[in-house]
């Protein structure tokens, strides 16, 4: 049951308002940059630096408090629940893009090709056919529209790198769990080793993904501008990649903290939060592999 006796209320803190301002600076810089205003990238960089500063400062403060033992069990539960709801919101963020993919393939493109529920649309795109992955675009068959899209030469296959990446990410889930067992057994070696392997697998995944993008852009002509196949491909894998990156950084942080003996068997919220996050990223990848690469 809840216990208020030991509840911890932090002192006034300057981190929230600094965070809010740095989000503003970051986005302001980004907007200027994509609109070709020259100071934009400088402001953007300043924003990134501010964010980095906050990560050290705010998280540092939280870690200190934790180590000083300020947090009772109640706080820890609040953190856990907070993280749970945060991941729920992330789930909905990814569901959005999966739903879009479904929408294009199941509803939009059939209509453009003369099937579906708005079949007459095909008179605007005479000759367009529904073949997924979309290597010919509706715009290709229409001379007037002056389309700015260029279709990809070929689509991404499911073998090769993506398959390897699936294996890598799945095993990273395994090594992370193994590390967790280590934590529970109070075996520091197993904990640190498990975490290091997880980080390594994360980095390899990241490298493969970067190579895949490079290959797609240069050899396959598969770009953001390649019509809806390219758009959905990069949107889904890109946001996933972003999460892998964030996850890897967090993993590195907790690896270092593990080496410094920050976690105990009963007090390791940070470890769990990162683990949940990583498993979530893992599950998203399986969805991606299935729906983006395979089907």
């Amino acid at each position: 049951m809840t216990n208020t006796e030991s509840y911890f209320i932090p002192e006034p803190s300057r981190w929230p308002i600094i965070s809010a301002s740095s989000v503003f600076v970051l986005l302001f810089g980004f907007i200027l940059m994509i609109n070709d205003v020259s100071v934009g990238s400088m402001i953007l960089t300043a924003g990134f630096l501010m964010i980095g500063y906050i990560f050290f400062g705010w998280f540092g403060a939280v870690i200190d408090e934790n180590l000083r033992g300020s947090y009772g069990p109640n706080v820890s539960t609040s953190f856990r629940q907070g993280m749970f709801w945060f991941i729920t919101s992330e789930v909905f963020f990814f569901l959005t893009f999966f739903a879009c993919l479904y929408y294009f393939r199941g509803i939009a493109i059939p209509s453009l090709s003369g099937e579906g529920h708005q079949p007459m649309s095909n008179i605007l795109w005479d000759g367009f056919q529904d073949v997924w992955p979309l290597v010919t675009l509706p715009g290709d068959t229409n001379v007037v529209s002056g389309t700015t899209y260029t279709p990809p030469k070929e689509a991404m296959g499911a073998g090769g790198i993506p398959l390897w990446n699936t294996i890598i990410l799945l095993s990273s889930g395994g090594t992370l769990t193994w590390a967790h067992w280590g934590l529970k057994k109070e075996s520091k070696n197993q904990l640190v080793l498990g975490l290091m392997m997880t980080v390594a697998l994360g980095l390899i995944f990241f490298g493969f993904q970067a190579y895949e993008y490079f290959h797609a852009y240069t050899a396959m002509d598969l770009k953001l501008t390649s019509g809806i196949y390219g758009s959905t491909f990069y949107m889904l894998t890109g946001f996933h990649g972003l999460h892998v990156t964030i996850g890897t950084i967090m993993l590195i942080v907790i690896t270092i903290r593990s080496m410094k003996d920050h976690f105990t068997e009963e007090n390791h919220f940070a470890f769990e939060a990162v683990a949940w996050y990583w498993h979530f990223v893992d599950v998203v990848w399986i969805g991606l592999y299935f729906f983006v690469y395979w089907l």
Binding site: M1, T2, T4, E5, Y7, F8, I9, P10, E11, P12, R14, W15, I17, S19, A20, S21, V23, F24, L27, F28, I34, N35, N74, T77, S78, Q81, G82, W85, T88, S89, F92, F93, T96, F97, C100, F104, I107, A108, I109, L112, G116, H117, S121, L134, L137, P138, G139, T147, Y149, K223, L224, T225, G227, I228, Y229, G230, S231, T232, Y234, M235
Partner: protein, 533 residues
């Protein structure tokens, strides 16, 4: 008094100076900041509405050009929805929920401050989106309306980028606030505060919070795709590349429809306190009400496409969305029924909050039944995008959520400030707003049916009469808010001292923990978990 917080040295003396506000981790201070922010935004959003109504006073273009009109319209809606109603609701949640459930503060106090401070940042960004279009070479102002439909929003100038990121910041703020509130409710209840002892307001925020966690990311995803279409050459919303502009509408309304319940539910929660208080009788059918609120949350998530009956969905999809939408009358009807039968055989008095409460039940029912008319697809093919819709949603939004907030302000001002407001002035305000509100928006049903589309800067003389009434009403309605402001400021400054429990019936049928604290309450509400009956 025992050690309630880790640093008891900080107990009841508050931090001082500007830092108390900037760096606050106190739920009441943050709540106050939310409420003040909302009040400022009410006037900003209202001022833009006044310009709209002045422009529509008579046919012909008098004061703003078409793009400026639509830009003001967009900002009016976004400011009212995201800047006014949601922060006001969050401010009340901050103030009241910890007190109601017997907690010392919110579960994650620093995060709480972050969700607040993101709002002024978003506000600044919104203002930038408007100002930027006055610089040469930045393209058209944002003239899409708050729904930001592509391809028009892809055409818009740089202001749209600012608006997209405004939405992002607002979204982060709402998600963080929602996470915090849900966690507080689930984890911070005092021992003995079981689920079905929670006041309805707490329940309503639990569901609101869940909705926000599920819908805000979808809107964020949608506007992100918009940004990519604008700047990075993707074709999500362009048929030439295999995309579809309608997809954006699905994403927007997947967020947008539940959003209207986000706006509505906190006010329903407030009614669930006010009506029993002034009827001196426990809330009728409390448990079913909670269950139906849960049903509304679930059903509200799956009927979004009733905003897009005209986009040409398949017959099956259209039929599904129609029936789903009409069924929403069941949970909402249940809620209103609960309130009506709370009054039944009670002993009513008519202080300002109660007057608002009764008016809300009547006017919101009216909004609801016009909503059901809109839900009927063939008829909506006539109503859609006409002023009939504008009338429906202002009836839903203003009585449904804004008046609920006004009622809450009058109900809780004594608790917040320690002073009673002046009842006569409160009642004048009530009659003034209610009558002028109806004068503003009732005629719009007729102009809409007669064929006046929304989002137009100029119209034909055949719509002139109703618009004239509507504009006169709008001005009166706007002016009434000056009285509102006056009452609030005057009550903060002083007045008759309020007792801990100024309302005779406020603890009937509920635990009413908030009323056991003095008015105004101490800096930290409950240092020890209160005993619960």
């Amino acid at each position: 008094m025992s050690e309630a917080t880790a640093h008891d040295d900080h107990h009841d003396h508050k931090p001082t100076g500007i830092g108390r506000w900037l760096f606050s981790t106190n739920h009441k201070d943050i709540g106050t900041m939310y409420l003040i922010f909302a009040l400022v935004m009410l006037f900003l959003g209202g001022a833009s509405a006044m310009v709209l109504r002045m422009e529509l006073f008579m046919p012909g273009i008098q004061i703003v050009d078409p793009d400026t009109y639509n830009n003001l319209l967009t900002n009016h809606a976004l400011i009212m929805v995201f800047g006014m109603v949601m922060p006001a609701g969050a401010g009340m949640a901050n103030w009241m929920i910890p007190m109601m459930i017997g907690a010392p503060d919110m579960a994650l106090p620093r995060l709480n401050n972050l969700s607040f401070w993101l709002l002024p940042m978003a506000g600044t960004m919104l203002i930038l989106s408007m100002v930027i279009s006055y610089f040469p070479g930045t393209g058209t102002p944002v003239n899409t309306g708050w729904t930001l439909y592509p391809p028009l929003s892809v055409q818009s100038g740089m202001g749209m980028d600012f608006l997209i990121f405004t939405v992002h910041i607002l979204g982060i703020s709402s998600i963080l606030a929602a996470i915090n509130i849900v966690t507080t409710i689930v984890n911070m209840r005092a021992p003995g505060m079981t689920w079905f002892k929670m006041p309805l307001f707490v329940w309503s925020w639990l569901f609101t919070g869940l909705l926000l966690i599920m819908i805000m990311p979808v809107l964020a995803g949608g506007v992100t795709m918009l940004l990519f279409d604008r700047h990075f050459g993707t074709s999500f919303f362009d048929a030439a590349g295999g995309g579809d502009p309608v997809l954006f509408q699905h994403l927007f309304w997947f967020f947008g429809h539940p959003e209207v319940y986000v706006l509505l539910l906190p006010s329903i929660g407030v009614l669930g306190l006010i009506i029993p208080t002034f009827s001196r009788k426990p809330l009728f059918a409390y448990k079913p009400l909670v269950w139906f609120m849960a049903a509304l949350t679930a059903l509200g998530m799956v009927v979004w496409a009733h905003h897009q009956y005209t986009v040409g969905m398949s017959l099956d999809a259209t039929t599904y969305f129609m029936i789903g939408t009409i069924l929403i009358s069941i949970p909402v009807g249940m809620m209103l029924m609960s309130f009506i039968f709370t009054m039944w055989r009670g002993a009513m008095t008519f202080e300002t909050p109660m007057l608002f409460g009764i008016a809300i039940i009547l006017m919101f029912s009216f909004a609801g039944v016009t909503g059901v008319m809109l839900a009927v697809v063939p008829a909506d093919l006539q109503y859609h995008d006409s002023y009939f819709v504008v009338a429906h949603f202002h009836y839903a939004l203003i009585p449904g959520s804004v008046f609920g907030l006004y009622a809450a302000v009058f109900y809780w001002l004594p608790k917040w400030t320690g002073n009673m407001y002046n009842e006569t002035q409160g009642q004048i305000f009530f009659w003034w707003t209610t009558l002028s509100f109806n004068l503003t928006f009732f005629p719009q049903h007729f102009s809409g049916l007669a064929g006046m589309p929304r989002r137009i800067v100029d119209y034909s003389p055949q719509f002139a009469d109703f618009n004239y009434l509507s504009s006169v009403g709008g001005m009166l309605f706007g002016l009434s808010h000056l009285l509102f402001l006056y009452i609030i400021i005057k009550t903060i400054k002083g007045g008759e001292k309020a007792p801990a429990n100024p309302w005779e019936g406020s603890q009937i049928g509920t635990t009413g923990l908030e009323w056991t604290l003095p008015s105004p309450p101490p800096f930290h509400s409950f240092n020890t978990p209160p005993a619960i009956k």
